[in-house]
């Protein structure tokens, strides 16, 4: 299963981070595969962080969508 869940890094000790998945659930996550800092959001798959999530990019994506959806008209 390629399911990966976003969570927020609370603290990092060596290559293990405490990650908050919301609803009070925290877990130890191996962060060897990413350059992540405390306070950042990471995508976690089977106990390992696989990517740092780009908060700004998420905002931009949504803004871009609104623009595209509002501006684009097609002749039918």
């Amino acid at each position: 299963m390629c399911l990966a869940i976003p969570g927020k890094i609370l603290e990092i000790t060596d290559n293990i981070a405490k990650v908050d998945f919301g609803y009070g659930a925290t877990r130890d996550v191996d962060v060897t595969l990413v350059d992540a800092e405390e306070g950042q959001y990471v995508l976690v798959h089977v106990g390992y962080a696989i990517q740092v999530l780009d908060q700004e990019e998420a905002e931009e994506t949504l803004n871009l969508w609104r623009e595209i959806l509002e501006l684009e008209e097609y002749d039918l």
Binding site: L3, P6, L33, V46, Y48, A58
Partner: protein, 369 residues
């Protein structure tokens, strides 16, 4: 978290749906995803019923459990019946081999342990140094890097039964099938966090296939459908990245390096599909000590991928939908699975068992979280 909730917004969903209706062509359009998690989002958010009839979303071979050939499950069964402890993810536990699943093997005395992470297997092997452990390493690019990290540093009594497969070669296999006639690819977001956007460039460039890398929230999928329709309408196929908040052009380079340090790319079979060129991984010679196939003289036959009547090989390339299989919800149910696609929570047949009777538009919106 905002990242998630904003991508479930109903108002935006209705707006995208309206745009999709405006753009939808008269002729039928077939869009193919290759990810069990996409099938899950599509089915559980009722995305199909939000789309015009002319647009069909089909599920390709993106369930990592469904594509493991029976022969490789037979190898795991052989190991556990010969005194080795097999450690596996829960979704492989019931996956049928030629004669037996790992669950059956356990009921006959085999030591099979289900874990959440390869780290658990490492910890077990450390705790019980006198016992031999094999981790059944299945999965696509998303699941490979962690095994690649642990293999060089794991202890003597742990080895790996490698069953990893690669997604882009499977997409190429689909693109080349004459009679499937796919009009666009929904590329898998989490595989792409690792491999980046780059490997998909060949689909628009060489196959003229519109391709969009997609995330997993309901809006991600709806927007991806819209972006594909836009490309189809313009007649200019290209690669777009809808999931830019997690997927970069180059991907996770550190993970890619870990993988290529440990594995070679080889030709291998996918369950029910036969051999797909350059679509699987094998441990490099220098890691033969951690390779269960080198370490033990495993004796298994060629394997039987399909139970008589099971159509998994057609379901996993989207040629038929589960309800077109004569065994679906008759002989084959989640309680009595006959094929791999009914076993895993990511298997298309299994996911479709939840789909029945839920197809009205408002019903779908009520399922958007």
């Amino acid at each position: 978290m905002k990242q998630t909730s904003a991508f479930r917004d109903r108002t935006l969903a209705r707006l995208i749906q309206k745009k999709i209706r405006e753009l939808a062509p008269q002729d039928s359009v077939k869009l193919c995803h290759v990810c069990g998690t996409h099938e899950w989002t599509i089915t559980h958010s009722g995305i199909r019923s939000l789309l015009p009839k002319s647009i069909s979303l089909i599920a390709g071979p993106g369930c990592p459990v469904c594509v493991v050939p029976a022969r490789e499950i037979d190898e795991a069964v052989w190991l556990t019946m010969n005194g080795v402890t097999v450690v596996t993810f829960g979704d492989m536990y019931k996956d049928p081999g030629s004669e037996m699943s790992l669950e059956d093997a356990k009921s006959r005395g085999g030591d099979v342990r289900v874990v959440y992470s390869v780290r658990d297997a490492v910890a077990m092997a450390r705790k019980e140094p006198k016992r031999d452990f094999v981790f059944f390493a299945r999965g696509f690019e998303t699941t490979t890097p962690m095994n690649a990290l642990e293999i060089p540093r794991c202890q003597e009594n742990l080895s790996f039964l490698v069953s990893h497969r690669l997604i882009p070669p499977a997409m190429e296999f689909l693109a080349k099938l004459d009679d499937l006639n796919i009009d666009g690819f929904i590329a898998p977001g989490h595989v792409s966090t690792i491999i980046g956007a780059r490997p998909y460039r060949k689909f628009p460039e060489e196959y003229g296939m519109p391709t969009v890398i997609a995330g997993f929230e309901p809006l991600d999928v709806l927007m991806t459908v819209y972006m594909l329709l836009r490309q189809i309408r313009s007649g200019r196929p290209r690669l777009e990245n809808e999931y830019a908040r997690a997927v970069t052009h180059d991907g996770n380079v550190r993970a890619q390096e870990a993988i290529s340090k440990v594995f070679d790319v080889v030709n291998d079979a996918w369950r029910g599909l036969g051999v797909i060129p350059a679509s699987a991984l094998q441990l490099k010679e220098e890691f033969s000590r951690q390779d269960a196939r080198q370490r033990y003289d495993i004796e298994v036959g060629p394997g039987r991928d399909l139970y008589p009547g099971c159509c998994c090989h057609l379901v996993i390339i989207g040629k038929i939908t589960p309800n077109e299989c004569p065994l679906f919800m008759k002989a084959c149910t989640p309680e009595t699975p006959k094929g791999a696609c009914m076993v895993s929570s990511e298997g298309t047949c299994r996911i479709w068992t939840h789909e029945e009777g839920l197809s009205s538009l408002e019903g779908s919106y009520s399922r958007l979280p």
